[in-house]
Amino acid sequence: MTPHSIFRQIILFIAICLILFIFNIVTPYVLNAYLCMIVIYCGINIILGTSLNIINGLTGQFSMGHAGFMAVGAYASAACSYYYLSPLLNSLSTSSFITLLVQQFFLVIALIVGGGAAALFGYLVGLPSLKLRGDYLGIVTLGFGEIIRVTILNMDSLGGARGFTGIPAWSNFFWIYFFVVAVVMTSFRLMRSYHGRALLSIREDEIAAESIGINITGHKVRAFVFSSFFAGIAGGLFAHFIGYLNPSSFTFIKSFEAIIIVVLGGMGSISGSIIAAIITTILPEALRPLQEITKLDFRMVIYPLLLLTLMLTRPQGLFGNKEISFSFLKRKKSK
């Protein structure tokens, strides 16, 4: 057996699933409902931040519509399970254990539908705008995000402005952190491959990248589709966790939150995005008592102030473009 055979990967996959399974069962006993919710939001924000990092950090393209892709994923997967999968599940009269299995299987289908829809939109938005240079992408994606939100606002089948209620709450710690692991691991592996290096080269110098044979539009679009796919998954997980969606959750503020995660963590640093996602989720919550004492929402003062201080003292972000090193975990290179 070679050390990097498929077998090894399967063992790793099973081990991760087992750990997540235990995590899924134990967490609700250890943490109260409020803390559980924070852990869930951390997971969703890690997926959002890490996926946006692929396009904004690694490839150096400035997308400002991540919330739009999240919304597409959230509503597409919610519609899929609300209109099709949930009635189907109810019509099955099997034992509760089988129902649970089918339900979890349906969740995965709904998530993939959501991620797929977001990826498709990513392709449609990315293909024309990524051919242009510079700031066009920012403007187009910002516009796209708003168009999506306004469109949903006017779609009665998706609840419109009232919100989409009755989405089955199928998602759980397991799936949220399954996709956290998925997006983080694929990002790390991408970075170490020639596909990832091509993205970095585009960020560094597009003309030089083209001169060594890199199809920059092709790679940008791929990165954008990949990034949108995971934003869609994050949306789907969110929808199936709280069981309720409202277009106001997906304003451009949400896109900016994702950008803040990437910038705070350090453009291009995956570990940075993870840490920053956790900080930006926990910090406003940690500042909540302040709001209760003063009866004023000081969070929105302190939070930007902290960001500002960080940007002034460490403009490259917490991690710059470095990664937390796990080299001590890797097998020693035999010479």
């Binding site: 990097h4 170490r192 020639y194 970095l200 110098d205 030089a208 083209e210």
Partner: protein, 254 residues
């Protein structure tokens, strides 16, 4: 013998300015040709047309009998033309090794799935280009600096690294835009040797732009002279040195 690279009446106009007009070039395999001319003569513009950065206003480019006219820069590189830039364009924040590895891009074959599951194919290819890149770095004795960020290399080494990155694409034709600019006397001498060495080792055809006459006259077999976009002379180094039109173009300029 038919030419490897051929241009016919290649012309580039920027609004009113004719940067290059009716440029005709026929490069045979293994030739080392120099392209010289005063500042603003249109030399870099020729390179930009040959590599697809600019789309020529007029004229044709053929490589091995196939037209390159409508191709994107990355397609042209894949067909076998690689280049360096007058104002060095390295991937500054990436490591020296990664810069050379990136040069191998078009020869990589493993897919996204192999990347995701880290298949044996992924490891084999990555291992191979790591070795190949380190070997290339030895040409300019850069292997000890493989893990430096490219921007931290001394200026001369940055020029070298750019040549190596272009070589990694395994080109048929190498275009060098002022490879000796900013190098001192000894560095230029050793560069001359290296250029001849890599031409033999990699079976290359080289077209180079250079202001350093010692280098051009020393290693080029044939020289083309541009002035105000016009090809005012071509011939062997000896002929060019004695050509009154060339002397006038250079003297008239300064």
């Amino acid at each position: 013998m038919s030419a490897l690279l051929k241009t016919q009446n290649l012309t580039m106009r920027f609004r009113g300015l004719v940067a290059v007009s009716n440029f005709n070039l026929a490069l045979s395999k293994n030739e080392l040709v120099g392209l010289i001319g005063p500042n603003g003569a249109g030399k870099t513009t020729v390179f930009n047309m040959l590599t697809g950065v600019y789309c020529p206003s007029n004229g044709d480019i053929e490589l091995d009998g196939e037209s390159l006219n409508e191709l994107k820069p990355h397609d042209i590189t894949a067909r076998g033309i690689a280049r360096t830039f007058q104002n060095i364009r390295l991937f500054k924040d990436l490591s020296v090794l990664d810069n050379v590895k990136l040069g191998h891009h078009i020869h990589m074959t493993y897919g996204l799935w192999a990347t995701t599951v880290q298949s044996a194919h992924f490891y084999e290819e990555e291992e191979k280009i790591e070795q190949d890149s380190l070997k290339l770095l030895q040409i300019f004795n850069l292997e000890k600096m493989a893990h430096f960020q490219a921007k931290n290399l001394p200026y001369g080494a940055q020029r070298h690294l750019e040549i190596l990155r272009a070589l990694a694409t395994k080109p048929k034709i190498l275009l060098l835009d002022e490879p000796a600019a900013g190098l001192n006397h000894t560095e230029t001498e050793s560069l001359m040797e290296t250029i001849q060495h890599i031409r033999e080792k990699f079976d290359l055809t080289i077209l180079l732009i250079e202001h350093d006459m010692k280098l051009v006259m020393g290693i080029c077999e044939r020289i083309l002279v541009l002035d105000h976009g016009e090809t005012i002379a071509q011939g062997t180094p000896k002929e060019i040195q004695q050509n009154p039109v060339v002397i006038k173009a250079y003297l008239g300029e300064s």
